[in-house]
Every structure is written in C-alpha cells, then in structure tokens.
Symmetry: C2
Subunit: 425 residues, 2 copies
C-alpha cells in the first residue's frame, strides 16, 4: 500500500473543478452495481491520473472460453467494461488458453480436459463474436495467455512460486475445504491462481473485473504486481445476476436466462418476467442507465407507481442494447398488443416447438396432453365457434400457421398456453 | 508395487546356485550398516536381473556442493556406493546446481544463496577431487541437474507438480512443523523435493542412497518414476555417523571428526579415540570390511578381548583406505611408539598450534595458561631435571623443535598436553 501510494504521490487532488467532476463521474459509473472495490481510494487516484495525463487505464477481464453461449448473467462484467471504455479506457480480454491446453494432467477434473490449439482458438472466436455485442471492438485487445505462460522456464516458475506461500493458497476457500475434508489437491492446482495473477503483471493491468468467486485470484494479481515492482491493480467485484426466477443465479441449464442472441420480442417478453423486486438490480447490472436515472426510477417505485411500467422501460432498454432502439420499440408494441391488460396468467404452460410443428393442427397433441381440449374435433369446433385466439387475434382455421417467435393461444374462456416458435424455420 | 512386480515378473529366482550366491552376497554388502531399505524384495529382484543380464544398476547419489571438506561422516554413503561399484554397478553423482543457481528467490534462506555458474562448478570440482578418494572414477558419472531442470517449461513443471498433492508435501516433517507453527512456506520450496525426485527419472536410477533426512525426497523419486512409467528406484537409507565424542553426529564445527585429507598419523590417532561401543559401527559404516569379518570381530569383543586391539585394526583399516597399507602400518608403529602402554590420560588438553610456534619455548604461554607450569624459568628447570618428555622421548632443551604432526608433552609426573602441529610449515 505505501509503495502504491508513494508511486502515485505526484497525482494529488486536482484544483481544477472540471477534472474533479470527471473523476467523480467515472468513479460513480464504475461503482454502480459493484459488490466491492479494492481499494476505492487507489481507484480514485488512478482515474485522476488517467484524466490528468490523458492516459487510458488498462481494464483486465479474464474469460473462460469453454462457455460458448452468452446470456445477461455474463454481461454484468462485460457492461462494466463497456462503460469504462466509454470513458476512453482500454480493455484487455485474457483468454486462459494455457490451462486449457494443459488440461488437468491427473485427468481427474472434467472441466480441465485438454483442448487442442485449434479447439481453443475456435471456441474463442465464437465467444468473441458474442462479446462484441457488448464491448467496443476498437478499444479491446484480446490476448491468449499461452503467449507468455508457455514461455516461462523452470527458474521463472520458481520465482513466481516464491511470491506466495502455501498457507496463503490454503486460505482460498475451495482449497481449504478440500484440505480439511482430506480430498487431494494436486500441487499443480496451486498454479492456476498464480497464472491468472501473472497475466495481470504481463499486461500491466490497472483494474481487474471479476465475480466474487475470483476474489482470491484477483488479489493474488495485486501481490504479484507488487513483487514485480508494479502498481497494484484495483479489484472490482461484480455480483452474480439472479435469473428470471428471482432465486437461482442466471444460467442456461436452469432455463431462467435471457440470451443476448434472442429475438427482440422474446428478449422483451422475458425481461417482463423479471420479478418486481429485481427491477432496479437489473437496471444496475445489465443496462447502461446512469445511476442518477436509476435513482429516479427507484423513487417512482417507492412512491407507489405500478412496477409494470418501470419494467416496460427495463425491457425496452435491454432489448435496445442488443437490437437497437427501433426494434426495441417494435418489440414493446408487439408485447403490448399480444399480452394486453395483464390478461395473461402468470403460470401459463410453455411448450418449445420443433421444426415439424408449423400450424395449429400440428400442436393438437400438446393441447390434448395439457388437457386444454379432449380431441382434434373439439379443437376444430372451438375454432369455428370463435373460442380460440392466437396472440390476441381470433383464429379462423386450424390450418393457421403458428406465429413466431411466440404463439400464445387462448382456448375457451380461461385456458392459456404459450408455444415458443423461435426456432421454427 | 504391482506395476513394478509386473515389470519384473520375468526375472524369477534363478535355479543357478552360482547366480543365487552372487545375488545374496550383493544383498548382504548393500544391507551392511543400512538403516532401512525400501523395498528389499524389489532390490533382490533388481540385483538378480543385473547379474543375469550382465547389466549394471544405476546408483544415484545427490550431493550438495556447498560443503567442501569431506570427513568420515560423509563417506558413509560414498563407501556404500564404492562397495556397489566393486560389483560392477555404476554411480551417477548428481550435483544439485540448479537450486544453487536459483538461490532462494525470497532471499530469506541463507543456505540457498544464489551462486554463479562459475562458483558452482568450482565448488563441485574441489568436492569431486575428495569424493574420488572413495569412489571409483571409472564407474562414476557426474551430472549437474541444471542440465535438465533448466530446460523444463511451464507445461512440464505443471505435469511434474501434478504427480503429487499438497497434503503429501505437507506431511514432510519440516514442512508440517513450519505449517503448524504458522511459519511461512514459500510455494517454491515445495519444488525442491520434486526437483530431486525428477533427477531420478532423468537418470533412470535403480537405487538412491541417502540419509534418513532424505526419506521424503527419495520416496518422491519412486512416485515420479512410477508416474513416468519407470520402475521405481530402491531407497537405501544410511545412518548418520556419530563423531569421536560418541554422542553428536560427526561434524567439522564440533571438532569430533576425522577428515579424509588428514595425515596418516593424525588419522590413526583420531581413530584410536573412537569410543569402544562404536568400534563395530565404525567398521560397518566407514570401512569396506566384509560383514562376515565384522561378525568375527564382534565375537572377539564379546568374548572379552581388549577393545584396544580391535581398535588398532580399525585405525589401520581406515588409514589404509586413504593412505595405503604401507603408510597405515607406519602410522600404527608411530602410534605405538609414542603412545605406549596406555599411559596417556583420556582427557588430555589439546592445543592447535599456529605457525609462529616452532619450538617448546614458543608454547610456554599455553603451558602457563593450562597451569602445567608457573613460569618459563620453572619450565627450563624441569627440563634440566629430566622432567619433560615429548612423544615419549626425554627433552634436553627448551629450544627443541615441536614434533609434527603431533606433540604430546609430559610435564612432571602426571601432566599431559597435546599440541596439534599438523599445519606447521
């Protein structure tokens, strides 16, 4: 700490009020939604120096290329990086390909299976395409850490290892738990945090972003940078985003996610499913809305405004980020036309359609199994009587094609069922 | 174990009695004086295969080139290697220069200070000159482990680390003690045992010799060899030799040692100071006497023979190893002539002379401080009266030069003092 402060002693609080305003503004945006910042005072100094010397900060974000599909949960850190890029800072994305290439030499861990150079590059390319839906491509550098890690010789590895102690590594929660439970910890596993920390040294990171599960590794980066005579990076820890169920963390396997690749109408509709108590949190974590505006929205909510109107703003905001303002407006209009007046029940059954199911006739088996109708002939009779509507429009024939990306059917007076037709060709 | 046994399954107990005799003989010699052998059954198999296939075994001995002066304590393992060489086996001496070159990157350990390439080679050269007083130069290969260790890249180091676990390393006594006392263990320190173990893989060691302080590291060699698909080496642990005081381990700093470079008379005389209860142990550990002959000596002792006569054999045997039989006989004769009939007291004061002290006159201050005489004039008077003798011979004048390498003075009826004049020019 002393060292860092000394290294920065020339950058004192400016007497220029314009500079100070800019520093405070950056700090406010960086803090938005963050769980913890280590250390905030050092961050302020770094920002001030960056502003004064017109020198962008280097923002490090380590990514694991094994998770190919990005949803809003992944965008929490990405959006934060993007917001920093708007201030001129530079992002360095580290693809941890070195560990991927090595795999787990013991073969015990399935998540560390060995990948070929080609596989790693391929995964990374798919991944980057999605990441640039959030990040500014011009202000982003992508690095593969095998570039420097593969070159280290034994002597350098020993020096790296000498920067830390066995006791400190055993403090990391997963290690200490396993050690206590007498489950084996391979010595090589102690190097994974060190590799990640060494990346910070290599790129001279000013700030590293990560989830709280990365606390140990990111702080190790500070240690290694100090041993290497560098200024220590600032750690900004972002929380994990709850999924649409409001309980579990957003994840593809739990189905409680909004994918960044989803169609505008689907994205909008899913965003409308965010629980009321998470509306403000979603604004903080997955939109770029300014903290001051979020505060205004918070006041409107606490003043008793219907959360649905604020949620419509949220859904439009999120959709606009990935599909543009125009498509977002259309998605909103579509949503309002289809799901008007809050008529829809909350727990309507959802069915994902397959490619073979193109018309209403094709989905009769689903309607029967969900006990909406007893038979195909009953369905036809209901249609004739005007008792079936799709997305709020009366259906005239059982041959009507299914609406995409979503078809909400009302059968009779109170039965609703939703068909996800997003993937129909 | 299974793996090893499988690997050896073709080498079954031979039906050739000559071969079996040779195997048993080698086993007997290898076991002489050893504290522990892991595993003895595997050792027998290795020897049998070596005899049958006329293939020498590879004996590994790791040496630390930071200790330059060799005494009998160091020769315990060296003699064992030499005895194996007599059966045709090959020694590979590993100079651990890699750790010497790295030093302790934290700078905390004084024993691990960084040495230049040149210093390491120079130390090693001095050291090897002495080692070849015991080993057979023709059947010895000297390796510097930086040859292979310096070349390892990060990936190889990770694979090396993956062969063991944190828990296993923390079982090593010094590590577990420090961890319990919350003293820092640098992560790099965990690599020192692995480096040593990797040496075994590199040279395909069949047998590694060491002290019990090396148990952990030598067994780690077995582990690494098995991971590398090799047959595991046999560990032969030799005990530490007690010094002439019979209590502490032999060491230069305690002064209880016999150096391999010492003059024949000094070596002989010092060997005569070995406590009676250690005579057989010295025969076992620092001579090449056959176990059967040692057994005969043991019987003579237990039958009540004066230990002094057995000790004379020991002293002659040791002296012959380093100065040849002829010089050993001369040293014995000298010893008997000077220190006849057990006249000398056991706890005679010893003084190491400096170069300025050439005659009896020069040592008067020592005699006064040891309260042998009150003044120089008393000393002259005693000489005149025939009351002073040196090495059993009456002294005629105070100008008499001091005898080398040792001058035992008898002053008056019962005062003895010994001057070590070995280093006088």
């Amino acid at each position: 700490m002393e060292q860092t402060k000394n290294g920065m002693s020339s950058v004192e609080a400016s007497t220029n009020p314009e500079t100070e305003m800019l520093v405070l503004e950056q700090l406010k945006i960086m803090k938005k939604g963050a769980l913890e910042i280590l250390q905030e005072d050092e961050l302020a100094l770094k920002i001030r120096r960056s502003v004064t010397e017109h020198q962008p900060l280097i923002i490090k974000l380590g990514l694991d290329p094994s998770a190919p599909d990005i949803h809003l949960g992944h965008t929490v850190v990405l959006r934060k990086v993007r917001q920093m890029q708007e201030f001129g800072h530079r992002a360095v994305i580290i693809i941890g390909d070195f560990t991927g290439k090595i795999g787990d030499p013991t073969g015990r861990s399935k998540t560390r299976k060995q990948l070929s150079e080609e596989q790693v590059r391929e995964n990374a390319a798919t991944y980057m395409e999605q990441i640039f839906k959030v990040l500014d491509r011009e202000k982003t550098k992508v690095c593969f850490n095998s570039e420097w890690l593969a070159k280290l010789n034994f002597e350098s590895v020993i020096r790296l290892a000498a920067s830390t102690t066995v006791a400190r590594l055993l403090e990391r929660e997963d290690f200490s738990n396993r050690y206590r439970r007498q489950e084996p910890i391979g010595l090589h596993e102690f190097f994974y945090p060190l590799m990640q920390a060494y990346d910070s040294v290599q790129i001279h990171a000013d700030i590293e972003l990560g989830g709280t599960d990365q606390t140990f590794n990111i702080l190790m980066g500070r240690t290694l940078q100090k041993s290497a005579g560098q200024e220590a990076q600032i750690a900004i820890f972002m929380p994990l985003l709850e999924g649409l169920d409001g309980v579990e963390k957003m994840s593809k396997s739990l189905g409680n996610y909004i994918g960044v690749d989803e169609a505008p109408e689907v994205m909008f509709k899913k965003a409308m499913e965010v629980p009321d108590n998470l509306i403000l949190r979603y604004f903080e974590l997955v939109t770029d809305l300014h903290p001051d505006e979020i505060e205004t929205l918070a006041k409107r909510l606490s003043d008793g405004e219907n959360p649905r109107s604020i949620k419509l703003l949220l859904a439009e905001n999120i959709t606009a980020l990935y599909h543009g303002a125009e498509n977002a407006t259309k998605a909103k209009e579509y949503f309002l036309s289809v799901f008007s007046a809050g008529e829809l029940p909350k727990n309507m059954p959802h069915v994902v359609c397959t490619n073979g199911e193109q018309t209403l006739l094709d989905i009769v088996p689903h309607l029967i199994s969900d006990k909406m109708i007893a038979s195909g002939s009953e369905f036809r009779r209901l249609i004739k009587q005007g008792g079936v509507s799709m997305n709020g429009v009366r259906v005239e024939s059982a041959d009507t094609p299914l609406a995409t990306p979503e078809a909400v059917l009302k059968i009779g007076k109170k039965n609703f069922i939703c068909f996800d037709t997003d993937r129909l060709s």
